[in-house]
């Protein structure tokens, strides 16, 4: 069902409140290209072709990082992103993302931002905070803690895929035909951890294993994990944040790995974003995050399907 007029009004109020909050924190709202030569390179994100060798962005992160490297310290963008073949109660090929960066600040600052933003959204929606479990501080935990608690597995982050598969299978999870580290991990995650997160108060999950680094930098005191958190609330994956990798050599190596994996799996291989790599050395230590705006509205309104909070469903 498309959203009712009342829901659309609430969505507009939430958007307005979110913009006002970023403005009050001193963020500069930016507007980067939606049609690019190098969309997100990640193995499990597929871009939609936009003609003449261009693609629609799966996230605005590459251009926003170039702005940070050029001297912007607090920037935010609220705009559309596109991811091919994603359809479901929590997924749309076209959706609205809030992405923001804090240069010179730690990852924890973004978690604090999220707590405030979720409260701002719920207040704008006119819903009682206690009913949504946000009247107390959000839970902060780590991937290792969750895996130990819900699967009884000690996860280091530097074990190879074969060892991980054996441990996951011993815990009673069926990894199916999975041989890649991330595929085995996410089978465990979906079977054991996500159901527990769905029942819990809003929770930040920190310290992701290095094989799930994406664009995050290794933790200085334990490089088997990276500076990354995800925020889960009301059964929704609301946000993903990184202490951004600024090492251009390591970033190039990851892009090349991802390009090779994409080629092996028969997926489109996107050109490596050389302008981003050229800009990285000038980028200060930065924390960056993407939060799904449609899902934030779902959480604030208690909706269970993204279609309930968007005006048109047939996209």
């Amino acid at each position: 069902m498309p959203a009712s007029l009342g829901t659309l009004a609430a969505r507009a109020r939430i958007l307005k409140a979110v913009r006002a909050w970023f403005d009050a924190q001193g963020f500069l709202e930016v507007d980067t290209p939606a049609r690019v030569r190098s969309p997100g390179q990640e193995v499990h994100l597929d871009a939609i072709a936009a003609g003449d060798g261009y693609w629609l962005i799966t996230s605005p992160e590459y251009h926003m990082k170039r702005l940070v490297a050029a001297g912007c310290t607090r920037i935010v963008q609220i705009g559309k992103c596109w991811r091919a073949d994603e359809h479901g109660p929590h997924h749309r090929t076209e959706f609205t993302m809030i992405e923001w960066y804090r240069a010179g600040e730690p990852l924890e600052a973004l978690a604090d931002d999220c707590e405030q933003l979720v409260r701002v959204a719920v207040q704008a929606a006119g819903r009682p905070p206690a009913a949504l479990g946000i009247d107390a501080p959000f839970v902060r935990t780590t991937v290792r803690e969750l895996v130990a608690r819900h699967a009884g597995i000690e996860l280091a982050g530097d074990e190879d895929a074969t060892a991980l598969r054996a441990r996951v299978a011993a815990a009673g999870v069926r990894p199916g035909s999975a041989t890649a580290w991330d595929d085995i991990f996410y089978q465990l995650f979906l079977d054991r951890i996500e159901p527990a997160l769905a029942r819990s108060r809003p929770t930040f999950v920190f310290d992701w294993p290095a094989p799930l680094a994406a664009l995050a930098r290794p933790k200085p005191d334990d490089p088997r994990v990276v500076e990354r958190f995800e925020l889960y609330a009301g059964g929704l994956e609301l946000a993903n944040a990184f202490g951004e990798l600024t090492d251009a050599i390591e970033q190039r190596r990851r892009f090349e790995d991802e390009a090779r994996l994409r080629a092996e799996r028969g997926k489109a291989v996107y050109p490596i974003d050389e302008e981003l790599l050229a800009a990285l050395p000038a980028m200060p230590a930065t924390a960056g995050i993407a939060l799904g705006f449609d899902r934030l509205v779902m959480f604030a309104l208690g909706a269970t399907d993204i279609a309930d909070v968007t005006a048109f469903t047939a996209i």
């Binding site: 069926r174 996410y186 979906l190």
Partner: protein, 188 residues
């Protein structure tokens, strides 16, 4: 073989050696991981419900199951004999396989027989049947509103609780899933 993109309601697949039918499914994509299909399935032999997260690209073995409309003819010592209504072939199905369904399976009724790897493994009855009461205490006309009931026997030998006004020769409607009397529909 199927893969996850083939998943839809009613798809019949093998899981751990048993045939299942898909009841519900949902696209999920955790973190920066691969797409999965959260799939709720019902075991076609036991009715047990199972949920599995099937990763995109996982292969699924089709279950060799088929349902045929068959007419129940008669019983012998240890089996029931059915006839395929399209080919007129007859098959024997062990009484244990039919189980309690036999209580509401009068002769000549059409049922759906489930075959797994070519072998009959289950019988499903129509949800409602109409049966003539064969035995019951005499009826009390006019007594339609109190909740009181009495046992009555139908042709299969099963005994069900009916209101006091029902008498021998009445045709009654029965819910085969619960074994409950629903209404009186006429006289035989």
């Amino acid at each position: 073989m199927y893969d996850t993109s083939d998943i839809r309601k009613g798809l019949k697949i093998m899981v751990d050696g048993s045939p299942y039918t898909v009841v519900e499914f949902q696209f999920v994509k955790p973190g920066k991981g691969a797409a999965f299909t959260r799939t709720k399935m019902k075991n076609l032999l036991t009715g047990a419900v199972l949920e599995r997260n099937l990763r995109s690209g996982d292969k699924l073995e089709p279950a060799d199951v088929e349902t045929k409309t068959m007419q129940y003819l008669y019983a012998d010592a240890d089996s029931f004999i059915f006839m395929d209504t399209s080919t007129y072939d007859q098959v024997n199905i062990p009484k244990a396989t039919v189980g309690d369904s036999a209580d509401f399976m009068p002769e000549n009724i059409n049922v759906e027989v489930l075959f797994f790897n070519g072998r009959a493994v289950g019988v499903s009855l129509p949800n409602f049947i109409e049966q003539t009461v064969m035995e019951a205490e005499p009826g009390f006309r006019g007594d339609t509103a109190t909740g009181a009931t009495k046992p009555a026997k139908i042709s299969t030998g099963a005994s069900i609780n009916v209101p006091l006004f029902i008498s021998v020769g009445d045709v009654i409607k029965i819910d085969t899933r619960t074994g409950e009397y629903l209404e009186r529909v006429g006289r035989a």
